[in-house]
């Protein structure tokens, strides 16, 4: 700790990721004396991101300095690919200059966040592991580290997806394999020119692209999962998010599956000649609204991944982390001001979340992941194959009457696809759409 004299703070934030830093900053900006604790020797060392941070949320926290953050490339171009073993059907969008998200390395980005917080007067304690929370008369009143007790009026838990502390004090239950995605990733080095050529990025200033891959793992019993790829300045990230439940069920190793994706004829030319510079793995909490923990208790709040704030469909998580952290910090500062740290005051945090996109979205998306998961085979195998067959006819110029080809496709579709399966596919699709819109 930088100021060893001080052992009592208004607010202690555990975990220096986007959520923790945002919480600490909001608390400090609200006038609270704030300590930010991180277990690794520098922020970001334990963290992994598929690729990109969302910039609208970052702007809200750093309205003047967000552009100085260590961005690699602005992800203005997105492509979703339905893969079969040897083909790809894509849908793409491109918003040149949009700057809605940017690829980052957590080791650099989180470090930048912490530096900004320190500049504004947040105390920072790296290499500090919190073992327990201190409890006095039903109130959380500080933390027990490996070395000492540090007291505070409010503790904010931003200790990530595994949040041992939130479980310790009964805010949260253990996640089930079904609610958790394991993401494995490789950072692959290529030259800047090669990346710009392969992703058609020439001439755009720091322009970048993201790709998502559905299917293509060459398995009959494919796990529910999604491949992702992001461009960096002179690297690519390539990873896979996989349902833990399916990994268990089908006895699959995540690293082997990533190898399969790398060998796919559409993916392999993109990474050809690259050099693996870092392998990484991280969990994503995807239980959503139904698995939300208690968000507060006397003297404590929980934010970011620790609270399970993730919308897997849109890859949103960093934005939830930044904004939920901000609300937690603001609430803590308010509690300090009125000197009431009870759950009655801290309830304000939940109100703020309810009035924001965070709980609104999580609520309207509460069945989406589960629904899609129930149609894993349709998503991972059946429809990619169907799309591929359709375009084989559409673009094939096969010197066969189109009418015969399309009729054949239609007959195969009806024959291979029982009406029951089709019914459930349509029902699930409509259920997802209406769930979000209603």
């Amino acid at each position: 700790m930088e100021d060893t004299e001080v052992q009592k703070f208004d607010v202690i934030v555990v975990g220096a990721g986007p959520s923790g830093v945002s919480a600490a900053l909001a608390a400090k900006r609200g006038g609270a004396k704030t300590l930010l604790i991180e277990r690794s020797s520098y922020a970001g060392a334990k963290n992994m991101i598929g690729g990109a941070v969302f910039l609208t949320a970052l702007k809200e926290i750093f309205p003047d300095s967000w552009e100085q953050a260590p961005f690699e490339r602005y992800i203005n171009k997105h492509t979703w690919s339905l893969l079969t073993d040897n083909s790809s059907v894509d849908i793409s969008c491109d918003f040149p200059g949009a700057k809605k998200s940017a690829s980052i390395y957590r080791s650099k980005f989180d470090l930048w966040l912490v530096e900004k917080a320190k500049e504004e007067g947040v105390y920072f304690a790296p290499s500090t592991l919190v073992l327990n929370l201190l409890v006095k008369e039903g109130f959380i009143c500080g933390v027990q580290t490996e070395l000492e007790e540090i007291h505070s009026d409010v503790v904010i838990l931003a200790d990530g997806v595994n949040s041992l502390l939130a479980r310790q004090i009964g805010l949260r239950k253990e996640y089930k394999p079904k609610d958790t995605v394991l993401s494995v990733k490789e950072t692959i080095k290529l030259s800047r020119e090669t990346i710009e050529e392969r992703f058609c990025l020439k001439g755009s200033s720091k322009g970048g692209a993201a790709r998502n891959f559905i299917g293509g793992l060459g398995l009959k019993d494919a796990p529910f999962g999604l491949g992702f790829m992001y461009t960096y300045d002179d690297c690519l990230s390539l990873g896979l998010g996989l349902s833990i439940e399916d990994l268990i069920k089908y006895k699959l190793n995540p690293s082997d599956l990533l190898e399969k994706l790398k060998e796919h004829p559409v993916v392999s030319p993109l990474i050809q000649g690259g050099e693996l510079v870092e392998y990484s793995a991280h969990l994503i909490p995807e239980g959503g609204y139904k698995k939300l923990p208690k968000l507060y208790k006397n003297g404590v709040l929980v934010a970011g991944d620790a609270a399970g704030f993730v919308n897997g469909i849109h890859f949103e998580g960093t934005n939830y982390a930044l904004i939920s952290g901000k609300y937690a910090g603001e609430t803590a500062a308010y509690a300090i001001k009125i000197k009431d740290y009870s759950k009655k005051t801290l309830k304000l945090y939940k109100k703020k979340l309810e009035n924001s996109f965070i709980l609104k979205d999580l609520k309207s998306y509460k069945n989406v992941m589960e629904n899609l998961y129930s149609r894993t085979n349709s998503l991972m195998n059946y429809y990619p194959a169907f799309a591929s067959d359709f375009f084989k006819i559409f673009c094939g110029a096969n010197c066969v009457a189109k009418r015969d080809e399309f009729r054949g496709l239609f007959v195969r579709f009806i024959k291979q696809r029982s009406l029951r399966e089709l019914f459930y596919d349509i029902k699930t699709f409509l259920g997802c759409v209406f769930g979000v819109l209603k």
């Binding site: 277990r39 690794s40 020797s41 970001g44 060392a45 334990k46 963290n47 992994m48 991101i49 390395y105 957590r106 080791s107 790296p126 290499s127 500090t128 592991l129 580290t145 490996e146 997806v161 595994n162 041992l164 253990e174 996640y175 089930k176 394999p177 958790t180 394991l182 494995v184 990733k185 490789e186 950072t187 692959i188 690297c235 833990i244 990994l247 268990i248 006895k251 699959l252 190793n253 995540p254 690293s255 190898e259 790398k262 060998e263 392999s268 990474i271 050809q272 000649g273 690259g274 050099e275 693996l276 510079v277 870092e278 392998y279 990484s280 793995a281 991280h282 969990l283």
Partner: protein, 99 residues
Amino acid sequence: MSEENIKKKTIEDKLTTIKYNCSSKPHLAADEQKCRNCENRCCTYICPAGVYSYDENQNIINVEYENCLECGACRIACPYNAIGWEYPRAGHGVIYKQS
């Protein structure tokens, strides 16, 4: 650079790209009794770093905690809650630089 550079990597190959500050104190522990009776031992295939392996001679799970990426997948996956899972001591464990 050839294609082979990036293709067909084993977990062992991949782990050589990662920096660690290893602690002498293990932060993971498998419950010998529970693991002996486990029919599936999903930890041996689900772990992205291959930390867990089954030793048939001794009938125990070997835990190479030094390779752990601290993701927590084993903890969630184990149906018998048989894995003692803590964070490594402060400043120890995996140190990602480009992730």
